[in-house]
Every structure is written in C-alpha cells, then in structure tokens.
C-alpha cells in the first residue's frame, strides 16, 4: 500500500469516526502542513494554530470526503484556503501578531529553532542566517499563487498536476506561475548563490 493509499484508508476510517486514524493522519502530515503555512506567513506560532485549524477542518469534512483525488492534494487545498482566510482576516483587522512585531522573516526571532545544520563557525552562522532570512523574504514576497506553487513544488515535492489541483488552475498555468516565480527568485537572490 502506498502512503497515498494508506492516507485514503485512514481518512475513510476517520469518516467512520475512528479517532486513532485521525491521530495517525495528524502525526503523518503535521510537519508538511505546519511548514507550508510557516513558509507562507512567516509566523511559526500562528503556523501551528492554523495547522490545527486545518486538521480540525479535515475532521469536520470527513463525512463528505470522497477519495477522488490524492489525500495530500485535498489536504493542501484546505491548507491553502486556511492561509488565504488568514491573509484576508489580517488585512481586514490589520491585526498585529507577536510575530509581526518582530521581524517576520527572521526564524530566530520567533523562538523557533530550525534543525542545526550550520557550522560552528560564528561568521558562517551569520551568513547562513542572513541567507535564510533573505530566502524567506523572497518566497513570502511572491504573489500568493506563485508562492503556493513554489512551496508545494520545492518543499513538498508535489507534481505540476497536483499543484494545479490545489490552485484550481490548469497545468500550463501552474508551469507559468512557477516560471515567473523562479525568475523573481533569481533576481532577488542574485549574489547569494554561486
């Protein structure tokens, strides 16, 4: 059974009210959902809160779930809608989260620690930190559809077809979004790559 098949099997059990199956789904996909949201909004604490809302939505929608598409495509569609709602809510209320008061592109400022892959050299650490900040900014500044396409393609490894389903557009439109995003990233990150 592929992970995709087992996701569908788990979801069908959730549909029948199996709480253990739901727990397993959350355990399996928590990292992907949290990181997708974090990369889109740049706020680690809120990313967790929104990720919880995504999973609650999954649970609430379980009765209506039809295994017509890959589970992850459905999950990322809910994730994207949740992010969009959050952006709308933020622009409506102009609410400032704790994160907004800090530097949104600085993962250090959130109290969150990415896995330590840096060298012990302090100068190198500063460069790495600066680079991560720059990358975060560059991705977050992309228009929403381009950003989602980049996150799903680069970080979550979704195919063009799956991204097209999440974005509710054609495969050619998805390719075009990715192309434009890459051109922008190339310009914004110029000087940071060899």
């Amino acid at each position: 059974m592929t992970p995709s098949d087992s996701d569908v099997a788990l979801m069908l059990r959730v549909r029948d009210g199996d709480a253990d199956a739901f727990r397993e789904l959350v355990e399996r996909h928590q990292r992907a959902v949290i990181n997708t949201i974090h990369r889109a909004i740049g706020d680690a604490w809120e990313a967790e809160d929104l990720a919880q809302r995504v999973f609650l939505q999954v649970y609430r929608s379980a009765k209506r779930y039809q295994p017509t598409a890959k589970f992850t495509t459905w999950l990322f569609t809910i994730t994207r809608n949740t992010i969009l709602n959050e952006h709308r809510r933020r622009s409506r209320h102009a609410a400032e989260s704790l994160e907004a008061l800090q530097d949104p592109a600085d993962p250090e400022s959130t109290g969150w620690q990415a896995p330590d892959t840096t060298s012990p050299d302090p100068a190198q650490e500063v460069i790495e930190s600066e680079l991560k900040k720059k990358i975060m900014e560059a991705v977050q500044e992309l228009p929403e559809a381009q950003r989602t396409a980049v996150i799903l393609c680069r970080y979550e490894g979704l195919s063009y077809e799956e991204i097209a389903q999440v974005l509710r557009c054609s495969v050619s439109a998805t390719k075009s979004l990715l192309h434009r995003a890459r051109l922008t990233l190339k310009e914004k990150l110029r000087g940071y790559y060899q």
């Binding site: 709480a19 727990r23 990369r39 009765k63 990415a114 991705v139 393609c153 110029r190």
Partner: protein
Amino acid sequence: MSCRAIREQFDERLDGRLARSQEAAFDAHVAACPDCRPEWRAYAGAWEIIERQAGIEPSFGFVERTLRRLDEQPTVGRSWFWQPSVRWVTLAAAVVALSVGGWAERERRQERRQAELYAHVQQADYLEDFDVIANLDQIEGGNHL
C-alpha cells in the same frame, strides 16, 4: 538547438521532466554557450538555494493539542440540522410557508379593500341623498320667491 529553445526548457530541466536525450542536448548546449550558461546557473542556483530554507519542527505536544481542540468541536460532521438533505427540506418548507403566507395576506387585503370600497359606496349614496335633501330646501326656498 537555439538559445531560445534551451531557455524554454529551463523549468523542465530543473524539474527533471526532460527525456534523457533532450537532457543531454540541453546540458551540451548550456556547457558550450556563453550566453545560456550564466543564465542557467542563475536560474538553477536560485532554485537550489531556496531548498536551504530548512523547515521547522512541530512543537512538543502538537498532536495532543490538536486532538484536545477536536474535543471542543462537534462530533464528525455537523448536527443533524446541517445535513444537506435536512437543510434543503427546511429551505423548501420556508419558501412554501412564505408563499402561502404571502398569498393569504394578499387575499385578506383584497377582501378588506372590497369591504372599504363597499362602505365608501354606501356612504356616498347617503351623502348623495343628503345633498338632494339639502338642495331640496334651496329649491323649495326658491320656489317661495
């Protein structure tokens, strides 16, 4: 292969969507072309580098907290009222009730209007009679002259 054709394949090359022969032709062109080589290196370089943005780990107890929030939510699905079939029947009943209510109200208004009109006509007859009587006095008075 032209430079333009090569640049149109940048995305497919990055995503590993080129056939092996196309990939070999692409790589050969880029290696030899002084215009395409820096373009490709910049394009691919930016894409490679964003992967260095490591993800965050869920905080301790994330799953438990999610499940706890679930306990605060209604059970799977919504209450019976929000079942689509119940919702549609309720909506249809509301539409029927409004239509019947509207029709009854219209009938009632029409009856009331007819009654008012009848009363008005009755009153008008009386006034007409009254006028005739009043005029009669004048006529009679005139006759006296």
